[in-house]
Point group: C2
Chain length 213, copies 2
């Protein structure tokens, strides 16, 4: 499968490397594809990952991943081009973090979410919220006592969620589907539970599981 990863930060690189490890072709979309650090990363960790503009990566992928700062979502969606995303599953790994305070807060309310905004920005795409509730060091092949942990996802298109579920399971997760994209209103605050525990313990070695019987 061809996967276009929009965003070349830690999350984008981690998922790009994870997907190439599964045998997928990955293009990493970034603002300036010629940037030295990206080239260096591709030559070392990201072997097999190509690099392009946001628009090139969006056009390349059968499945897209949005992995940028919450504050950059609107601009990156515009640069990627809504028409390049039509009909495609878009994994939205972003969080609406307001970094003006530390620990950060959320810049959305409980009647809106960044997941819903991404869906409105890319109306023809099938947005699936996922990978927003764990830090990047444990996104690929998470290894915890009592695991595998659960990746909560949500989105409006069942076919896109099935594709994202397969990819997420292949990366080592169990998947729990919380319904339509509006459940992002709860999955984005869930990221804040993860982040708050990180700030209190200074350790990012945790992930959620929903115990069931």
């Amino acid at each position: 499968m061809r996967i276009g990863v929009l965003g070349s930060g830690d999350v984008g690189r981690t998922l790009a490397a994870g997907f190439t490890g599964l045998g997928h072709e990955v293009m990493l979309g970034t603002r300036d594809p010629k940037k030295g650090p990206i080239t260096a990363w591709v030559q070392s960790t990201g072997k097999g990952v190509s690099v392009g503009t946001f628009a090139e990566a969006a056009a390349f992928g059968d499945v897209l991943v949005l992995a940028v700062l919450g504050t950059a979502v609107e601009e990156v969606a515009r640069l990627a081009g809504a028409k390049n995303c039509v009909g495609k599953p878009v994994i939205d790994a972003t969080n609406p973090l307001d970094m003006s305070t530390m620990p950060p807060g959320l810049f959305t309310g409980t009647t809106d979410s960044l997941g819903e905004r991404v869906q409105r920005l890319l109306p023809g795409a099938h947005v699936v919220k996922a990978f927003n509730t764990v830090g990047n060091p444990h996104m690929v092949k998470p290894d915890f006592p009592g695991g595998p942990p659960d990746m909560f996802i949500c989105g409006d298109d069942d076919g896109a969620k099935a594709t994202v579920t397969d990819l997420t399971k292949a990366l080592g997760w169990n998947v729990i589907d919380l319904g339509g994209i509006e459940a992002s209103r709860y999955l984005e605050p869930l990221a804040m539970v993860w982040i708050t525990h990180y700030f209190r313990t200074r350790s990012g070695n945790h992930a959620f599981k929903l115990l069931r019987r």
Copy 2:
């Protein structure tokens, strides 16, 4: 220990029975202490639990539990009397559920929470958010494969949190402290993750755990 439970619904009754089971003295505060169903419940399940008004239960307890509908919090706090709560740990098990839709939504935003509102309504009390992220059938002695599950708590007073941690552990939980009461902004949406899964599966047999290593 004397525990005053404000609220005689399923959550209040469950916690009241759980605390008497641990050997504590419990008074259940309710709007009308003479109400038939409460009397019947005390005679069967709630043996050893006394019943009083909200004010009587608040005055009775060394530790208080607030277990009412989110929309009733303001009135119940007024009826309980802020002066009866001064200096006491108050377990806030409420959620700001807007029941005008099903599944419900939240009537707070991401820059406020019901936990913070309860603390403002009872300024001399030491409010600790707890028991709001699991359904009542599993609040006492939760029994899950891979358990015990984690009870996330938050509050501004470390002494009150230590007391609530001891009580919560005695009921069979592991406890994770997320800091000040403002973390209610994330623990109340976490309840919605629990509730959303409930509505999708029609099963309330689930509870959160934070896998760690």
